[in-house]
């Protein structure tokens, strides 16, 4: 399969474009606009060091005297700072670019971790079956009944109290990825397990077994490809949820520190100033966060309609 896919790369794109998925994409203006917005946000944030006029991580470029300048279209703005400045005098535009990069990075990495854990556990549970299966699925149920956010809050709160803020802040990004990544594995595991159970009964799996292929090969080469469409659908929703979780944790002061703010920590630091009228420190990163999550959710909705996979239900 790998040699095939590399050889036929260019035609594969046209295949996708002309397939049902491609058709429903072209016919769906919401999906097109969402994808464009998502790509713009993603590319701009990942190119933050090239685009941003200031480096928010460089204390030499930050002057507290510049704090709380409003955006350009409001009276009292400073021409240097397109979207104004935050409470520490950082250029909000640059800080948002860097912050979005962090939020996206954490979201995608956390979901990657979820997928690796969940898919492996789901494959094992479905393929091995029996006691291991029921034990793993029982664990998944219990894990899910404790919400991710709750587990993450307690884990991060204890970690922070244990290591002290300074050490914690240094490794915050890894802690966030780890905790959001580990807490949500059941989402993937249940869906993959359900497909494995359905596929296991089919003849081609039997014939693969008769041909002497090992369980690993059967699972990865034969069963996994059949789980791809639900995995895609789950992944989009999960990235949106992970970004919200990260923002919520950072808002509570359990995530990215103000010195290296993600969108959530920016909103949090601005929250103290909305009563004094500096709404933009909260509002502008808030809008970016909502738009980012919204376009991912819209893409997820479209994918769900287009692929229409059998998703696991409670």
């Amino acid at each position: 399969m790998s040699s095939l896919s590399t050889n036929s790369e260019p035609s594969r794109w046209s295949q996708i474009w002309n397939s049902n998925i491609g058709y429903s994409f072209r016919k769906n203006p919401v999906a097109i606009v969402s994808l464009v917005i998502f790509l713009v946000i993603a590319v701009m944030s990942f190119c933050a060091p090239l685009i941003a006029p200031f480096d928010p991580y460089d204390p030499g470029q930050i002057d507290i005297m510049n704090s709380e300048y409003p955006p350009l279209w409001v009276d009292g703005a400073d021409a240097q700072f397109m979207l104004g400045t935050d409470d520490q005098g950082r250029d909000l535009w640059s800080t948002i670019l860097y912050g979005t990069r962090l939020s996206l990075l954490i979201g995608i990495c956390a979901v990657g971790l979820q997928a690796i854990l969940g898919i492996s556990i789901g494959l094992i549970a479905g393929y091995v079956g029996g006691r291991i299966d029921s034990l793993l699925m029982r664990m998944a149920d219990i894990q899910l009944s404790f919400s991710t956010l709750m587990v993450a809050i307690i884990f991060l709160a204890v970690t922070q109290a244990m290591f002290g803020s300074e050490t914690f802040n240094q490794y915050a990004i890894y802690f966030l990825i780890a905790v959001i990544g580990v807490a949500e594995w059941p989402q993937y595991a249940r869906t993959v397990r359900a497909t494995v159970l359905a596929e296991k009964k089919k003849e081609y799996v039997d014939s693969a077994r008769v041909l002497g292929f090992g369980p690993m090969r059967i699972m990865v080469r034969h069963i996994l490809p059949n789980s791809l469409s639900p995995i895609f659908v789950i992944s989009t929703v999960q990235v949106a949820n992970a970004i919200i979780s990260e923002a919520s944790l950072s808002f509570l002061g359990l995530g990215m520190p103000p010195s290296q703010p993600s969108l959530g920590s920016l909103i949090s630091s601005g929250f103290d100033y909305i009563f004094s009228g500096s709404w933009w420190i909260t509002a502008i990163p808030g809008i970016v966060l909502v738009v980012l999550v919204l376009v991912i959710n819209l893409l997820g909705d479209w994918l769900r309609d287009a692929l229409n996979p059998k998703l696991y239900k409670g």
Binding site: I142, S147, S248, L252, I274, F275
Partner: protein, 326 residues
């Protein structure tokens, strides 16, 4: 039925055991109880003596058993900050949180079922499309942002609603003081309840709509139509009952998420509940209070999930509780 109950309770106990282990591990590793007790001006010898006296030099198992034994008797240690039993501190804050959760639940249940059913029956009306559009925006706005937005609009800009605290509460009994007895109390609880409901409501509307639409495609709904049953009976007896079964399960899972969201809502509105208290305890490294919170919240999760499972079993005739217990 009885066997199923026993099995469920047994599982609940197992989960509580794991939670208590985690709680104890946190207690054991986080902070130094001696320093909280006597400060730093005491000699090493006296410290050792005190450690022996407090049993801090006992084996892990002995210490855990003591911890678990005390916990079973309702003793979850003494808060460093409040100098009161941790459980008492939490129980005092519990009603505020529960009232908030109650308010949000009323909003969610009261709106999600009619809206979900309507959008499932008439998926193509302008109203349905509007609702679905709003709902996807709804699930994309984090709870804390909704809360901030509402404070900004309704408190800062217009000044219609207060932005923090519980306002006038009326004592009911024990530690329970209610918001629902005065106009001021209602004014204070309205925004936080809406904020807490804001992400869950669209989630449930979408879930109910999706389930209902699937049920409406089923053979038994078609058959009910073929029998000449009146439409309202098909929607609300045949379809809704089958729709709500999976929704109950998801609802049980969402209770956990709801408790987590109370932390966010309470932080934004400075609502004096357990979530707000927990974050303060974290900032003060008030270990007994952190551990007590973990155990109380864990207990709430386990109890509600067990109850939801039992309700599901009772409502769904195809679940044979007697057989599931075997």
């Amino acid at each position: 039925m009885f066997a199923y109950l026993v099995k469920r309770v047994f599982q609940a106990i197992a989960v509580m055991f794991v939670i208590s282990l985690i709680g104890f591990a946190i207690q054991d590793n986080l902070g130094d109880p001696l320093r909280e007790l006597v400060g730093q001006s005491v000699s090493e010898e006296v410290r050792q003596e005190l450690r022996d006296e407090l049993g801090l030099n006992d084996s892990f198992v002995t210490q855990y058993l003591r911890f678990a034994g005390n916990a079973l008797q309702g003793d979850l240690g003494t808060s460093y900050f409040f100098k009161e039993p941790a459980l008492d501190v939490i129980l005092k804050k519990l009603p505020a949180t529960m009232e908030l959760v109650f308010g949000a639940t009323i909003i969610i249940v009261g709106l999600s079922i009619p809206v979900g059913v309507y959008t499932a029956i008439y998926p193509n009306t302008i109203l349905s499309r509007l609702v679905m559009g709003i709902s996807i925006i709804g699930i994309s706005v984090p709870v804390f942002l909704t809360a901030i937005l509402m404070i900004f609009v309704f408190s800062v800009e217009y000044g219609w609603f207060p932005s923090y605290g519980r306002g006038d509460v009326v004592h009911v009994f024990g530690p329970w003081e209610t918001n629902f007895a005065t106009v001021d109390g209602w004014m204070h609880i309205l925004l936080p309840s809406i904020a807490l409901a804001s992400i869950m409501l669209p989630l449930f509307v979408r879930l109910i709509r999706a389930e209902m639409m699937e049920v409406l495609q089923s053979e038994y709904v078609k058959y009910a139509k073929a029998k000449g049953i009146r439409p309202w009976r098909i929607y609300f007896v045949h379809a809704l009952k089958n729709t709500l079964l999976p929704v109950i399960t998801v609802g049980g899972v969402q209770i956990g998420t709801m408790v987590a969201y109370t932390i966010l809502t309470e932080t934004v509105f400075q609502w004096p509940g357990m979530g707000f208290m927990f974050l303060e305890a974290v900032n003060r490294v008030d270990t007994p209070l952190i551990v007590a919170y973990l155990i109380v919240v864990g207990f709430i999760f386990v109890v509600t999930n067990t109850i939801v499972d039992l309700i599901y079993g009772l409502v769904n005739p195809t679940v044979n509780l007697a057989r599931m217990g075997a």
